[in-house]
């Protein structure tokens, strides 16, 4: 091997080395970028159970507003309101990474509260004989969106 070929070979190696270094740096940057913590909570079986239970409880209660007098439902309204509040606090307690679920929960509780206010103001039949049956359908659909949101989350396997 002549001196010139040895020099050319070593230059090629240096260039290959710098290219490898560049690629590794690029890959490292890419991975570090991807590994920034994504602000989202993991799937929680407790949340899923709360939501499916509350969906049924609230819908059955709101449906009953079409026929039962307000006075006869006040205790059940208090009970369901308490259950909703407990479940909300459970979600809120998970912190900032669970803010999307907490925001959804606030809106669902708002729908229920509006149904209760409307019921107390108008009584059964005041907004039509089937108004609360339909309000219950909306509430169920709202819970379905929340349930689907929770089900879409990743399971924490770490």
């Amino acid at each position: 091997m002549t001196a010139s070929t040895a020099y050319a070979g070593s230059a090629l190696c240096r260039r290959a080395g710098s290219l490898r270094g560049f690629l590794l740096a690029w890959l490292g940057t890419l991975i570090l970028t991807a590994c920034v913590a994504v602000p989202i909570s993991y799937y929680d079986a407790g949340t899923y159970a709360h939501l499916t239970d509350l969906k049924a409880e609230t819908a059955v209660l709101v449906e009953s507003f079409d026929s039962r007098p307000v006075k006869a439902n006040e205790q059940r309204i208090d009970d369901v309101t308490l259950s909703l509040r407990k479940a909300y606090e459970y979600e809120h307690g998970k912190g900032a990474n669970n803010s999307d679920t907490t925001a959804q929960f606030s809106k669902v509780i708002g729908l229920f509260k509006e149904d209760v206010i409307t019921y107390r103001e108008n009584g059964p039949g005041g907004l039509g004989p089937k108004y609360f049956r339909e309000a219950a359908v909306v509430l169920e659909q709202a819970f379905d969106v929340m349930i689907a949101t929770e089900a879409a989350k990743n399971k924490n396997t770490r």
Binding site: G128, V138, Q141
Partner: protein
Amino acid sequence: MSKFTDFIDGIADAGGKLAKDELKTLIADAKKDKSDFVRLQAENFERWTNMLADGDLTPKGYKLLVRKMEVVTQLEVIKLKVEAKVSAQRLSDGLQDIVINALFALI
């Protein structure tokens, strides 16, 4: 003609405030949308309009129900946002566990 379109056509609107054809097209298109959520909301709207026509809902009750659709739509928007975050989290966790913790230890 369906009960829904008959009812919309029958609304007295001397001032021409309601774009009846656009409303009918909006709902007809939404009922064929690829999103289950959008189809469901269109069906709600059509059913409530029919119930208003039949007297099963008062105008006040009808308006309250339609306004609830806005809230449910906000929930769906949050769901779509969460699904995007979930994909990003899956990639991030996978890179951490499989690439950094496992592959990097071997090379």
